[in-house]
Symmetry: C2
Subunit: 284 residues, 2 copies
Amino acid sequence: MPRGTFRALHRVAFQGEPGAFSEQAALAFYRNRIRTKPLHSFSDVFKSVKDCTADVGIIPIENSLYGSIHQNYDLLQRYDLKIIGEVKLRVVHCLLSLPGVHLREVKRIYSHPQAIAQCEEFLNRLKKVDIVPAYDTAGAAKMISDRHERNSAAIASLQAARVYKLKVLKRNLESDRKNYTRFLILGRKEVRPKRNAKTSVIFAAKNIPGALFRALGVFALRDINLIKIESRPIAGKPWEYLFYLDFGGSRHDQVSRRAIHHLTELATSVKILGSYEQGVTIDA
Amino acid sequence: MPRGTFRALHRVAFQGEPGAFSEQAALAFYRNRIRTKPLHSFSDVFKSVKDCTADVGIIPIENSLYGSIHQNYDLLQRYDLKIIGEVKLRVVHCLLSLPGVHLREVKRIYSHPQAIAQCEEFLNRLKKVDIVPAYDTAGAAKMISDRHERNSAAIASLQAARVYKLKVLKRNLESDRKNYTRFLILGRKEVRPKRNAKTSVIFAAKNIPGALFRALGVFALRDINLIKIESRPIAGKPWEYLFYLDFGGSRHDQVSRRAIHHLTELATSVKILGSYEQGVTIDA
């Protein structure tokens, strides 16, 4: 995928308000050479790529503290999109206000409950400040800008500060610095990764003892590194599961191709989500 | 655990309002010979068992359509409670109103968004009825009873109808009948299951290729049936995971004991959550 062609073409769909962490991850992945398209829901992101109203989409798939975003795993199964890239973003929370406001003037802080929880230590040190839950971190920043609230601040991303022209009163509010979100880039056509390849597949194991063990053997016995495994229920088949596997290698390599072929012998279904370059970690 | 002793002693903590599905599952498991204790959050349920303000607790762990309730997996790791039983409840949604109300008089229906989604086909057939989201199915039933709302109904459990003395206008509203929730019973002391034993363990695999494959081999090579595997992130170690395994057998059997011993050789940590009888499915 030649990076030069993004310039005029690429419109990247994401879920959330402008300034959301997903938008920041997309801009970092494409080095700002894209236009972004905010949408209401994750399934809207999948739909817009499928319907060609966006060129690609970006979705969060996993947070290093909270785990997988299962809704997006289910959408990967439902839609026939390809994973074409990955990016890992360190979650950096900033306190944002209107320009000219000082921290001591802030009487109210808006943010998403998860962001509030992640900044608990910082918030506990403040005195006489109301903490107000909002539906979205970027939405909280937008509200302050729209309503021109002088005595309020929002906990949101640096990208939200840029979008809403807010002042960064303080950054790195998060208690745990090891807080990363992994995002996937989705397209309509598969790509051929050049280096550090990773492949994602979904399979249903046969309902017999040892089925998962044998399926993992396909990779272990070929010294293919298993990066992640996730299980999801199968609707209509209570207590049966689909498995999502990420392994090291490209489906275009001979050893991975043979492993996938071997997996189809052992599984009742196999779906290849794509091979792509493993994401670098971006410190926002 | 002799069932006769529950009669006077057992106080079972659950999350939600009286009439919640968790309460219904607890009453079914203990054949009504318990007192129940409604609490605000899942962690309150764990705390109350730990602090002896309840004898046992009940938590939902998995729904056959939506997957695992990850917060409860994380709490199982954090608290040192034992799993002492399991029960599977088919989720049956009922339309509840004040006594004497007819379906045609209902102008407003309250329920939790997930219950509303599960009854979509039924709700789409109704005309001129407002659908209003509520924080809880049993809470919606409680509200109708408390406020004595005549033109409203709630989608909730049969147990909620009993608790709030509401009329069941219609039952089996759910579009998908194969909708089950699996609950775990938590105590302070482990039990010895007599038949159909199942054991739950948590382990951290070594960070080397093939580690999970080898760990599963512990069970597969002894013909022990793996029932479920779930992975959860480890805080402070981005992209490393804890694995939760359910396998057939009791830790008091020789073969399972050997398997667990073998697992400790291959894993960096192993925690046994308990052996218990596999739950029967209750059709509410």
